[in-house]
């Protein structure tokens, strides 16, 4: 945390596939991510310890027996971001589990990616997450992506007390043991979000992925105050009654950028000469590079994350410890709310790994994820203004995001009100046979996915008076009902309509991620 004074240097601001230094007005409060925690010294030992002495559960070895069916389910490529440098922590955990299964003589093993309505992962992406040895042993018969539209591989486990249908992957649900391997990047992930969401069908997801829960999740990164998580928890209880679940959760630290970009991980006034040189060189090279090369380079970034915790056992007990570890890494305390909240939005959100960040995803990242990185109260007051840096190009990945294109052109052209959109269009998109076909056989996000992305911002849309994008494509920003400014100063000028001439400004200096606890 820092207040900008006359000695404060210009600060790094992410701007899509780029970044720049930006001078902030005096008195701006800057929220830096906490220092990266040291990683576990011996991850292998930590994994073994977690599996041998789980929380509220017998050791894994006791749960494995010959002739059983074992399902190992793991988080998909939407976390962590950027993708973790090999070996991914999921690979290490899965290998440890498989090793024990092989020793116990378990033959019937299935690995299922919990990609829910996300796109299927390509073989290369699966191999990156699980490592070559697992991939070579199991691909393709026993290693696959969850298919939320395969009626033969879904099973209804029951209903919650609120009438929410819990329908998940049949292979996983009917296994003698379901081992879930997670990476907990932010507090929203993990716990009862793992199985009831990652393996669910549209029919089950609609109970918590809707405008109503989003408006009543303050924030969705604070599970006790999130209506969405209350629904997960109810579903998790149904799952716990019918499925033998062994949850393994892991957390990583804040080492988001590789060494050549380490100036992005460092506070500006601490930059060494080498880092200043690296900044200049990287910025210049990034600007000169053709768009395709630039995208390739950014998408190839792999984070040198280190593992900070591995816990296994009963879901809720495990998740409690996991959350504590996430908070230990990310939580920053802030006094009072601001009038203007400023973000630099980076090139990546959970849904454009190896893909294109389209305008809807930009909105989701800013108004959904970043805005909701708070506990207690939003960082910005009600009626405040959000200023975000991102070019918001009118650009879509034709293979990965086919329904996004239509959503942008058809739905947002008519209205940007999440509730109206939900009522009028969601059903048609969710059941469109072409989107279903692409989701199942190509690498496309499900037809309903752009709706969820838009709902993700519902709380922010409701809370904020104005959203201004700096340096953005005017047409795409206008389509989404936001405003665009060419410079930060113009944006502040525009914001003065809502918040007056001397606003309190808070700049969230992310990524690396930080979560604000606002008092």
């Amino acid at each position: 945390m820092l207040d900008v004074d006359e000695r404060t240097p210009p600060l790094i601001v992410h701007h899509g596939e780029g970044f720049s230094l930006q001078q902030f007005p005096l008195g701006t409060r800057v929220v830096y991510p906490p220092d990266s925690l040291p990683g576990l010294p011996d991850v292998t030992a930590a994994i073994d310890a977690a599996l041998d002495e789980p929380i509220d559960s017998p050791p894994l070895d006791e749960l494995l027996f010959a002739d059983m069916r074992l399902a190992i389910v793991f988080d998909d490529l939407s976390i962590p971001l950027p993708p973790m440098r090999a070996p991914d922590i999921r690979q290490r955990v899965v290998e440890a589990v498989i090793e024990r299964a092989a020793q116990a003589g378990v033959d019937d093993v299935h690995l299922i990616a919990a990609n829910s309505l996300h796109r299927r992962m390509t073989p290369d992406e699966l191999q990156h997450i699980l490592g070559e040895r697992v991939f070579r042993s199991f691909w393709p018969e026993r290693l696959r992506n969850h298919d939320a539209e395969d009626p033969d591989d879904l099973v209804v486990l029951g209903e919650t007390g609120h009438g929410e249908v819990v329908e998940i992957n049949r292979t996983a649900a009917e296994a003698d043991l379901l081992v879930y391997v997670n990476v907990n990047l932010i507090a929203m992930n993990g716990g009862d979000k793992s199985v009831p969401v990652g393996l669910a069908s549209y029919r089950s997801l609609r109970h918590h992925h809707n405008v109503h829960t989003m408006l009543h999740s303050r924030s969705f990164n604070d599970p006790p105050r999130s209506a969405m998580h209350h629904s997960y928890d109810r579903m998790g209880d149904v799952v716990a009654d019918t499925v033998r679940l062994f949850q393994i959760e892991t957390t990583v630290n804040n080492e988001t950028f590789p060494p050549q970009f380490d100036f992005l991980n460092t506070r500006e006034w601490e930059w060494s000469y080498r880092q200043q040189g690296a900044y200049l060189a990287a910025k210049r090279a990034n600007e000169l590079a053709p768009a395709k090369v630039r995208r390739k380079v950014w998408q190839a970034v792999e984070a040198p994350y280190e593992v900070t915790s591995v816990n296994a056992g009963e879901v809720n007990a495990v998740h409690e410890r996991t959350l504590a570890n996430v908070h230990r890494q990310q939580l920053t305390e802030i006094d009072g709310q601001a009038d203007i909240l400023v973000f630099g939005l980076p090139y990546l959100c959970p849904y454009n790994v190896n893909s294109v960040m389209n305008p809807i995803l930009v909105s989701c990242l800013g108004l959904g994820y970043y805005f909701n990185m708070y506990k207690n109260r939003p960082v910005v007051r009600e009626g405040g203004v959000l200023i975000a840096f991102h070019p918001v190009p009118w650009e879509f990945h034709q293979v990965h995001h086919p329904s996004y294109v239509d959503f942008f052109d058809e739905v947002l052209a008519e209205t940007t009100d999440p509730a109206a959109i939900e009522a009028k269009f969601e059903q048609a998109y969710a059941t469109d046979p072409w989107y279903v076909h692409l989701y199942r056989t190509s690498y496309a996000y499900h037809g309903v996915h752009p709706f969820y992305m838009w709902y993700w911002g519902a709380h922010a849309l409701d809370h904020l008076d104005d959203v201004i994008f700096v340096g953005a494509n005017r047409k795409s920003v206008r389509r989404m009902g936001f405003r665009s400014a060419s410079t930060f100063n113009d944006a502040l000028e525009m914001a003065s309509d809502s918040v007056g001439r001397s606003p309190r400004i808070t700049y969230m200096h992310t990524p690396p991620l930080t979560m604000a606890e606002v008092r």
Partner: protein, 435 residues
């Protein structure tokens, strides 16, 4: 002698116009093989059945522009006789007394030169009133020519005088403005196209193109059928606005059309290599109202198997007909207008239907499609404006052949019609409405 715009045969001009028409109308217009000349007045072959007309307004049609810029199909070159005066969308005053039509009556012209005007016994098509299908358009006592405006002997609308057969004339009710009246002919063609399409109640329809033809087809569709959802493919903003006004259920841009139709019909998409996307499933009907290869292509690719594609505009260019074969489509032509054909008893023919539509509530809206009016000697500006109409937010450009020559000085420029972005010296006919 009559002041006329004359289209003459010139290979080099055709080639030049053809080459430049992709670049800009302002290059094409002066290169067109057209000249303003004093021609001998056309002489009626049979004074009892023919009258001289003095045009009040004469529209510039898409097919005229295609002919001028060498874009139209070579197939039609056999059905015209050079040199001719273009112009077949005509509202005019008669100069001679005819049976039932005294001199100085305001009339519109059905331009088809079928058996009767040609002084022949009716062919099989004409005998049942399907004059648009006449087999005798190249014979008889007139030079070859499918319509007034393509025939060397009759003259055309882009002049101060032409001749027409009694059979071609329809009296215009007094309360219809000249602007609306000049659109009776294109509207009658639209009515004909809609009747040819035979849209059943509840069927979904795609209209490709939202220029004058597309909008009039939309109006006719809403007036004459109980079509369900009507999707209009419109390129320009002004076209979109009018399409909404005329009752479109959905208006989409050309590059979005396939995906929007797919969304609306929940069809599956076919993605061929090196060829535009197509639908498996889709709308029941499509009407090509633009006449370009791309528009017809889109129509063929967005109709469901067994659906119908109606050619409401003169097709130009080459189109891949594989979808018509593979999806077993009905491809239906709709040329000009018909007198009778398949009408139910008591139903008005295409022209009378159009006149009654214009006489009703739609009159002002349709009259508003006239975006600018030019005197004959400003023909280059007029053609330039017409060639770029969509981009300039304009629809129908018309000549006022009776207007005086170009006057000099800005104070002489009359006020412009709404929406028309300052053409060089357009005349409006606001002062003539009350006649």
């Amino acid at each position: 002698m009559v002041l006329s715009l004359e289209l003459y045969r010139s290979r080099s001009r055709y080639v030049a116009a053809q080459a430049t028409q992709r670049i800009s109308g302002s290059l094409t217009a002066p290169l067109a093989p057209l000249r303003l000349a004093d021609r001998a007045a056309p002489t009626p072959p049979n004074p009892a059945a023919w009258a001289r007309l003095r045009p009040r307004l004469s529209g510039i049609c898409g097919s005229d522009l295609a002919t001028l810029s060498g874009k139209s199909s070579r197939y039609l070159s056999g059905a015209v006789s050079f040199p001719f005066v273009p112009g077949h969308e005509i509202v005019a005053d008669t100069l001679d007394d005819l049976d039932g039509i005294p001199a100085r009556t305001r009339v519109v012209v059905d331009p088809v030169l079928s058996c009767r005007p040609r002084g022949l016994d009716p062919c099989d098509a004409c005998s049942i009133g399907r004059t648009s299908r006449c087999d005798h358009i190249t014979v008889g006592h007139l030079a070859p020519g499918l319509q007034t405006g393509y025939c060397a002997d009759t003259g055309g609308g882009w002049s101060r005088e032409l001749i027409a057969h009694r059979d071609q004339l329809r009296i215009v009710p007094d309360h219809i403005s000249d602007e609306a009246a000049v659109l009776v002919e294109p509207l009658a063609c639209a009515v004909h196209a809609v009747r040819r399409a035979a849209v059943l109640p509840g069927q979904s329809v795609l209209i490709v193109g939202a220029g004058t033809v597309g909008l009039l087809v939309l109006a006719a569709l809403r007036e004459l059928t109980q079509a369900g959802d009507v999707t209009v493919v419109a390129k320009h903003r002004r076209q979109r606005e009018l399409a909404w006004q005329l009752g479109a259920s959905e208006v989409v841009a050309p590059d979005r059309a396939i995906t929007a139709v797919r969304r609306a019909t929940r069809a599956h998409l076919l993605r061929p290599d090196h060829s535009p996307e197509a639908l498996l499933g889709g709308l029941d009907q499509a009407l090509d109202c633009a006449g370009s290869a791309g528009a017809l292509d889109l129509a063929l690719r967005s109709v469901r198997a067994g659906g119908r594609v109606t050619l409401a505009a003169m097709p130009a260019g080459r189109t891949d007909l594989a979808p018509a074969w593979f999806r077993e489509l009905e491809v239906v032509g709709a040329y000009a207008t018909s007198r009778n054909g398949t009408l139910a008893p008591g139903e008005a023919d295409d022209f009378d239907t159009a006149i009654s539509m214009v006489a009703g509530d739609l009159g002002p809206l349709i009259g508003g499609l006239i975006s600018a009016v030019y005197p004959l000697d400003c023909w280059r500006e007029a053609l330039d404006h017409a060639l770029e109409a969509g981009r300039l937010g304009a629809f129908k450009i018309a000549f006022d052949p009776g207007a005086e020559q170009r006057r000099t000085g800005p104070e002489a420029v009359p006020e412009q019609t709404a929406d028309a972005p300052a053409p060089p010296v357009p005349l409006t006919s606001t002062g003539r409405d009350n006649q």
